[in-house]
Symmetry: C2
């Protein structure tokens, strides 16, 4: 069974829970965005994903990408699907109209990429970096680079990569050694090796634009000496640049996406942004990519849920307590048995994943909408507030949604019993594919440190506190469930302050509990989301079982994690001070 | 890096924590078992595992088993290794001397199979069912069957399978349709298809003995109409029996073990045990197998930890808070960086896995020792008590250790960053291999139901309560840590009673919280184990960081799960009674 986007689920979150369109219409560029446009666009997106992209998922895994003599061939059907994607204008969705884009809100792109990832994670890796590259060149590229590359990337005619990692330096970008030597004509010659480059070589598009983290000859050591160069595979005169793909990795999953070892051999490129400011330029791309990875997580989890749910509603297994039971024919022993979905343990697995999917969608779509507020709101305070939301919530979403994609897909696999472990049903592919999302674009441990050490603690928790207050003010204290969430948000604020104080006594502490802190934040965001969903469900006939599952099975982790952080803080402050 | 058994770790648990040998020597058959014998045996086992079995793990995954024309070829080297295993007498370790075995305590076999699984899970599947088949035939087989098959199986000359699952019935054995038709000569003709048969066909041994769950023509419907037949691939006269392997599954992992679809086509067999009592005979085998699966979990987790620990102690990445930092040469940017193991988030991952491995070993080895007490103790009360321990603790170990093998291997993979996701380092193989242990020999959800619904609740929790009291009495209330564990054991007793009462009001409830209950029990057992380990560490220089990790990161789940079960019980009893 291939993944099928379920438009109603997404529209419920966008329309009823978040009230997205009126808010976006308040931003000048989106005055025309209404229900009708959104409905039509998402409907078309859903069809494209379900009909063109989803059917290629299995072959992408089974055949995978092939490397021969430096050239990489994508799995059968992938190039045609990509060309159809470009022709339909999907890459240009959120790019500015002046660059040939459609100038639509980021939230459409968010939903599109969530669905694409759910349907075919491997294929989706190819266009997945387009928008980040677009933003990076748009904001940091020279006029000449913008003119030459921006329209091609906005349209998706050329694909892009992000070349960061080197063999000796994984998460540690400060150790990057690739060199860029300036030339009299303003170009640079780039030399060095990069690994783990998604889409470094393939046959999907006619050119590939590499954004390469590198070091000028006189650059200072460490991350402050990094520059960013644009290095196209094919040069403007049509000749091949000195860019080589030496091999592709054999991986646990994601076989539909080539993970390339790249070699730049005095390749011609041009700096993007100022010398030694490459990391700043790259971060534009990485932040966009991180939200996309969170959406991949949500999509993959939804795909796993969809498969398991369908299986559980079709197949019978033993008697379930309190269920009706249907007698099997005598030829099958005559024993009565119930649908798998009637078994409480299985139902719990399914409802718990829906609790994550629906709740995380609320937070992720809100984040996508905040991206546009941060760009387009007339009020600088609103822009700043939205910027703060994106900075704080993106790492939380990236880590929590990818973690849940993996562990939730594993739970969904369990619904299939032994059949889950064999290739046939495709659930094990989702598990293998999902695993990488916990690693790339910054491991989940790095997201947690990014959140706590780089973003929350430097201002003593003030920014996070303001965000939590903002959420609190959107709730209605008269509703019991909202009051409970308000209490939790207050607990997170208090915890943040406690942690900020304890961290001054022991600088190691935040690194030890960063993961717990991130989970506390995510669970409070989810609690907020579910209060909002519950409100939107009132007076409707929507099924409330995921809401119950959230309260029973998901939310209790909040106290667990809160307790771990608290005790760690107490242990630090109880220690005799040696001053 | 191939897995290397670490003898000291295991001996510390067996000798110092559990005081295993004096206890076993009190049983008549093991009067000769002492430290010296144990040391020599385990030393030899460790060498065999490390030198012969571990080096074949990668090729087992990469090449896998091949099916052609009904015959299955094991990966290169597997047959030779198996023959060496047989020649060294390892299969016969715990088999009775009168059957050609060595008559040694089960705990040796437990350690051997834990190490084998850690070194090469795929290969170990082949001999993994030998001992269960041995016990099954020994206790339920006719004199003729015992004479013909027991010595061959005790020696490992012939391998054995367990043929339960059919395509239309996974966990639901009541739906088994394979037919056995009695013949005038006392044999049966067996016809039907079985799937997911580990080692159903291969070239490791000269014959394969299938134990097949089947149904006599006049049998009642459901599980009470099941019989067990022994069906050899090669008949006593040397001709091939009508036993066919139609295909092997393509799986997520465990490629070194063929998972076969078997077809019995009027194959000749003989009933083991009484007609319609097949499940009872099979359960002997399944319970032995379940402890072995728990040991696989511990082994796989230890293998993952070993890989990640070695990687983290060799590779540098960024600065760690409070760590010394070593400057890289100028050619590498000159930036200082620390070993991965110095980073708190990574250290936490590693220590947490050790907390699980060491704690679970205490419980698993104790269970293996209790198997022998249950068989050989002169006092029937002791035998009964030991039997109760095995019945209650085996499903807990099976579910919890395999769950941790998978999630812990995933955490260990995280230590490698992007390198963890590529094949090269072998950590992703461990993750793929480990996943199946949560499914086979009864899914983990079935283990939880087995524990709570079939074993704990029927006597109102009396058996579990007695077991918890037994553990309490082995602790010293004067030690703070022991007192804390005693408090937890009392909480589990109280919870059990509460649950037994609430279950009478809502029969569905135990099915909903069975998993949480199992976790509560496991965590209380681990807390007990760590109190014992702590005691054994006193006045030694052993590293205590895993003990601290257990208290900080593992044990808090106890309250989480306890709370979930409690609230579920309260919700039931608060409900208006409709009597």
């Amino acid at each position: 069974m291939d993944y099928q986007p379920r438009l109603d689920d997404v529209r419920f979150v966008l329309d009823d829970v978040l009230g997205t369109w009126p808010k976006l219409r308040a931003l000048a560029p989106f005055a025309e965005v209404d229900d009708a446009l959104a409905g039509q666009l998402l409907d078309e997106a859903g069809k494209f994903v379900g009909e063109v992209i989803a059917p290629l998922n299995r072959i992408g895994d089974a055949v995978g990408c092939r490397w021969a003599d430096g050239e990489v061939t994508a799995p059968p059907g992938f190039r045609d699907a990509y060309q159809a994607f470009v022709e339909a204008g999907w890459p240009a969705l959120a790019a500015a109209t002046e660059d040939g884009g459609q100038g639509l809100p980021a939230v459409f792109e968010a939903v599109l990429f969530e669905w694409l990832s759910a349907a075919n994670h491997g294929w989706t890796m190819a266009p997945g970096l387009l928008h980040g590259a677009y933003e990076c060149i748009r904001h940091h590229g020279s006029e000449a680079l913008r003119q030459r590359y921006l329209p091609k990337i906005a349209s998706g005619e050329w694909l892009a990569t992000m070349c960061l990692t080197e063999a000796h330096a994984g998460s540690d970008l400060g150790q990057v050694r690739t060199r860029a030597v300036p030339q009299p004509d303003g170009s640079v010659r780039v030399s060095g090796g990069k690994i783990f480059i998604s889409g470094g070589a393939h046959d999907l598009s006619d050119n590939i634009v590499h954004l390469v983290l590198c070091r000028l000859p006189d650059a200072p050591a460490g991350p402050k000496g990094l520059s960013l160069a644009l290095v196209p595979r094919d040069l403007p005169d049509g000749t091949r640049n000195a860019v080589h793909c030496d091999r592709i990795e054999e991986k646990m999953g994601l076989h539909g996406s080539p993970t390339c070892a790249m070699r730049f051999d005095d390749a011609t490129g041009w700096l993007i942004g100022e010398p030694n400011r490459g990391l700043a330029a790259m971060f534009v791309m990485m932040n966009a990519a991180r939200l996309h990875v969170a959406l991949q997580g949500i999509g993959l989890l939804d795909a796993a849920w969809q498969k398991a749910d369908a299986y559980a509603r079709e197949r019978r297994q033993m008697r379930a307590p309190g269920a009706p039971g249907t007698a099997a024919p005598a030829s099958r022993g005559g024993e009565a048995s119930d649908l798998i979905v009637e078994h409480p343990a299985m139902r719990r697995i399914l409802d718990t994943q829906r609790a994550w999917i629906d709740g995380a969608r609320v937070i992720a779509y809100r984040t996508a909408a905040q991206l546009d507020v941060a760009r387009h709101d007339a009020d600088p305070k609103q822009r700043e507030r939205a910027q703060r939301w994106c900075a704080l919530v993106t790492p939380v979403l990236k880590a929590a949604c990818t973690q849940q994609a993996f562990s939730g897909a594993s739970e969904c696999l369990q619904v299939f019993g032994g059949h889950g472990y064999v290739r046939e049903w495709g659930i094990e592919q989702l598990l293998r594919d999902a695993r990488v999302t916990m690693i790339y674009e910054g491991t989940n441990e790095i997201q947690a440190i990014d959140l706590l050490v780089r973003k929350v603690l430097p201002d003593g928790g003030a920014g996070m506190s303001a965000l939590l207050v903002e959420l609190r003010d959107e709730l209605e204290a008269a509703r019991d469930i909202d009051a409970d969430v308000q209490r939790r948000l207050a607990q997170v604020r208090y915890l943040t302050t406690t942690l900020a104080m304890a961290a001054t006594a022991d600088p190691k502490l935040p690194y030890e509990v960063a993961d717990d802190y991130l989970r506390v934040v995510m669970l409070s965001l989810l609690a907020w989301a579910w209060a909002r969903i519950g409100r939107a469900c009132e007076d409707t006939t929507r099924d409330r079982s995921a809401e119950a599952a959230f309260q029973r099975w998901v939310l209790p982790e909040f106290e667990l994690r809160l307790g771990i952080v608290k005790r760690a803080c107490e242990a630090v402050t109880a220690r005799p001070q040696t001053a």
